[in-house]
Symmetry: none
Subunit: 335 residues, 2 copies
């Protein structure tokens, strides 16, 4: 589609992108790993090409398995190096021919500082928030930062997004009523990634931490009416729904996510998501469960709340690299 | 560690696993794709090896990027076939030398129908397992099905995988001792996707459901010694670890996963993963928490346990398609 050897004339001093002529990775010098995702098998690198001006970002991602390639992939040409076996199980490092096992590479050159920040990861940390730490660190921080909740009040007071409402309790149900609306991230089209949010009318319940058995009528109402509305409107039965709180949430007016079980949504992992069933059950077992429990959660170093826990000596920053396993039993990295 | 060409003599009629001699995929006939995950770049296949009895399951997963390989990967030996470029952005199909771009293959042979069901894609359902349902449905099912735990006993009794042990308590610690070994899915190379399993010496603790405050010394020991061993051996501090149980687990000898926080591993979602901190905290708040709690979890329709809940009228099968939202307020699908 384009002649790779033709470089378009550029004004003097402007850097010509390596993308106009690159055939392989000759001359690439990797200066830093910006981020990676071991689940998705991606890695984002920063570096430069010898003799060329400007920084280059290289985004690599392993390809998913292509069905058409399978008959050629699973032959004698694909070597199996055994790592170990045990009874009926064997694990191998398997090396297929290169043309059957590609990597998708995206190269951004010349890259600006903004591009670099976009692809750079900051480490997350586990914080084990005891009730005392909630009172001394988290709560004062929330009060000081106080996100603007006007957009939430606009929804529950009926002055915004009214055409999107899936269910709304009668306004007389001040304590147990709620409104169910699509989450901003849902396209509203596919049931695969259905994502709704239930927002109680009652103000001042910041998060899970504030819940006691007094809130059981509210939570049970959301559970029952939310499931009923979704089955009626979208035909998804309750057994196909993942219903959960986030802790920490992204805003501090209590709210509950209803998503399709098939949707591997961001933020469904243990320590971030708390299933409504478990929350109801915990309050039934112990009315003050959420005032007494240690709640572990995950914080990025760039989060303001992280700095507060750092100031209290609860957690410290961690250098992400190097991350390889060293031979012998010496310390691999980090400290 | 073991001579790959020596096949242990088996009683007549017993199938010898291909894992005792396999060097490549010669003779493999793929009969069915059981499931795949395009995000994680994994595919699970069913098939057989020509001239060999018994079915084989082949689990393939693209490896994540190994940092040590990067200097060799990003050279002139790695070909870039341009797909397109636009201004500073270029996208390529990139073909590295095979030894730098492996696939992890796990082969299960001979595989039973149960193994096949385990790796086959079917819709999942939420099951809210009350204590009564555990007693009347889950427990009788576990007792009837009873997976073979010999491979677990081989590990804790020191007859298999001993060269892989990261930490082992003194054998005198019968009640609180455990062994820490790499999970089968970990390549053992990158800290990014570190995945170890702690297995208590004590037999007969099936799962979370059996835990009471009597087990706190065991759990606290695993928490303390597991974190210490990982920091000493791999340099990863506790704030970089995700430590959790699965419920339902894949086998019923209590075990605990230690993974790198950066590893978005399979099975870390709420309702499947239970963080060790929360489990300890729940037992401290209420000794019989796990005998009294309703534990929600997710079951595949192909799971034998699903049929049991179905027989009891707790859940029913659901047709995955069609899944688009219909206009109007008619039922979208399902019923």
């Amino acid at each position: 589609m384009c002649d790779e050897n033709t470089s378009v004339a550029k004004p003097a001093g402007e850097i010509v992108s390596v993308n106009s002529y690159l055939k392989d990775f000759s001359g690439f010098e990797n200066t830093r790993i910006l981020s990676e995702n071991t689940q998705a098998k991606t890695i984002n690198l920063l570096g430069n090409f010898q003799g060329k001006s400007g920084q280059a970002i290289v985004l690599l991602q392993k390809s998913c398995f292509i069905h058409d390639h399978l008959p050629n992939l699973l032959t004698g040409k694909t070597i199996l190096n055994k790592q170990f076996d045990n009874d009926i199980y064997g694990t191998y490092d398997c090396q297929p021919p290169p043309e059957l096992n590609g990597i998708t590479a995206t190269i951004i050159h010349p890259a600006t500082e903004k591009h670099i920040a976009k692809y750079e990861a900051k480490p997350h940390h586990v914080i084990e928030e005891t009730p005392a730490l909630y009172q001394s660190v988290t709560l004062p921080h929330l009060k000081a930062e106080q996100f603007n909740l006007q957009w939430v009040y606009n929804i529950i007071e009926g002055t915004a997004e009214q055409d999107r409402v899936v269910y709304a309790s009668p306004s007389s149900e001040e304590k147990t009523g709620f409104i169910l609306v699509p989450d901003l991230k849902w396209d509203g089209k596919n049931l695969e990634n259905l994502h709704l949010i239930a927002i109680p009318y009652s103000k001042g319940i910041l998060s899970l931490r504030d819940l006691t058995s007094d809130h059981l009528p509210l939570l049970l109402n959301i559970d029952t009416q939310g499931k009923k509305a979704i089955e009626e409107k979208f035909g998804l039965p309750a057994s196909q729904l993942r219903i959960f709180f986030h802790y920490q949430p992204s805003f501090y007016h209590l709210h509950i996510h209803f998503t399709s079980l098939r949707h591997e949504a961001f933020g469904i992992h243990a320590g971030k998501a708390h299933l409504l069933t478990s929350v109801i059950n915990n309050l039934e077992l112990l009315s003050t469960y959420y005032q007494k429990a240690t709640l572990p959660f995950f914080l990025k170093e760039s989060d303001n709340l992280f700095s507060k826990f750092e100031e209290h000596g609860i957690v410290r920053k961690f250098e992400l690299n190097p991350t390889k396993v060293e031979s012998g039993d010496g310390k691999g990295n980090g400290e």
